[in-house]
Every structure is written in structure tokens, then in C-alpha cells.
């Protein structure tokens, strides 16, 4: 498996650390109801198809990445830095 890091380029998956579902990016407000936190922390889809998850380029630039991939075909559809600041940096 290979992921194309937005900063470093295409790399073998050994350089990356897998974290979990991209849902972790949608942190509820501090005062959100318990249901929202429960969903955020514990409820996950397990799709046969397109999914998004978080990877860390640990043996690389240290970017956290949102990977869009297909669990059936193993196709990597997109690799984006989780940080919006990054997108701005790249657009420059």
C-alpha cells in the first residue's frame, strides 16, 4: 500500500501510522450533549466501499492526513492534510 503525502510525495505505508476514522476531526463543542460525544467517540460506520480515515506520516514530515479510500477495491481516492492551514499554504 502506498499513500501520496501532500508534502513528501508517494510513500510506502510503512512510513505511516494508522489512527482511526476521520470522524475524529469533527470534535463536538465542549457543551455538546452526551449523545454527540458518544457518537464522536464510540460510534463508527464500517462501510464496504468508500471510507475516510486518519493516518500520520510518522516516518516523514509529521503531517496528519485524511485518506479517502475504498475498502473493497483498496483504491486510494484522496490524501489530504487534515489542517486547513495547510490547504492555504499549498494554494499560495
Amino acid at each position: 500500500m502506498r499513500l501520496t503525502c501532500p508534502l513528501c510525495g508517494p510513500r510506502d505505508r510503512r512510513e505511516f501510522y494508522y489512527y482511526g476514522a476521520a470522524v475524529y476531526l469533527d470534535r463536538p463543542a465542549a457543551d455538546a450533549p452526551p449523545e454527540a460525544w458518544d457518537e464522536y467517540l464510540h460510534l463508527r460506520d464500517n462501510p464496504a466501499g468508500v471510507t475516510q480515515d486518519l493516518w500520520y506520516h510518522e516516518q516523514g514530515c509529521g503531517s496528519w492526513l485524511k485518506v479517502t479510500r475504498n475498502t473493497v477495491t483498496h483504491e486510494i481516492l484522496a490524501v489530504d492534510a487534515v489542517s486547513a492551514a495547510d490547504a492555504a499554504e499549498e494554494a499560495r
Binding site: L7, C8, G9, R11, D12, R14, E15, Q59, G60, C61, G62, S63, A85, D86, E89
Partner: protein, 178 residues
Amino acid sequence: MPDLIAKPALGAVAVTHAGCTLAEAAALTITALAPFPGQAAAVGAELGLAFPAPNTVSEGGAARLVWAGRDLAFLIGGAAPERLAALNGLAAVTDQSDAWVTLTLTGPPTVEVLARLVPLDLRGTARGQVFRTGLGHMPLVLIAEGADSFTLMTFRSMARTAWHEIEEAMVKVAARSF
């Protein structure tokens, strides 16, 4: 002069196998520069060097600015303290001189040797390129110096392992050519 004796990471004597030489480089000053959001260009301007784009090195005089990760570059070699002071407010500045062991690997089979340890295609790399990657399980800043010549930086505490693994790879590559 300090009374405490400074020790190199390894104090190793260079080794050569089949035309490939591994050596411990002289310790240079390494300053980590992490520009605050939007300040990369300003940091470069203060230093008179372009802040490096990912995977590149900016050079000027004795110093060079080596991209070292997300929002991070290492200033390697001399830079006047007053210039670093001018970065106040523009970047986080950290002395990393002692955090890394710096090795050099040179000679025709260098790319073949590194192919045993580094998961990248290093054929045709040229001076001006740098890679954040792994040397086996160790973190690596890999600087291309020219044809068949690389500088490798890994954690100082792992210096012995790095040296051992690179030399093992050299010996195995050398054993093929007879």
C-alpha cells in the same frame, strides 16, 4: 572553553566497502526553525535564504536551510546569533545540534546500499533534494549531496544502530560484486 568534555555521537572511523564509504560528519550547528503560520517567507528573508519548499534545500554561503518536515527546516552551519534573534516572533527557534548524528555515505554503490534501508527511489537524486523518511525503523533526514553522495541524519541515541545497519548493508552489497 567549557570544562566539560564534549563527545561526538560515535567517534567512529570511516569504513569503506566496495567503493562505498561511511563516515561520521563533523558536528555542525543545527537550528530548527519552525515558522509561525504565514511567516515562512519572512523567516527566509531574514536569513537571506529562501525558506525551503518540501523536500528541498536552500543554500547560501556556509549555511543551508534544509526542509525537515511540516512547517520545519533545519538551519545547518553557521548563522549569526543576531540573525537568529531577528526571528523572534516569526518562528520557533530550537537548538538541535546535539539531537542528531550526521553520517555521510559516498561512492558508486551508495544508492544500492541505501536501497537496503530506505524505501525511496534515490536514483537520479541531485543536490538540493532532501527526504524525511526512515532508515529501517529509525527516523531519517536524507540530504542528497550529488551523484552517489548523501548526508544522513538520525537520532543521536540511535547512532550505533544506524552505523551498524548501514555497514551491514554495505558489506552485503560488496559481497555480491566479485
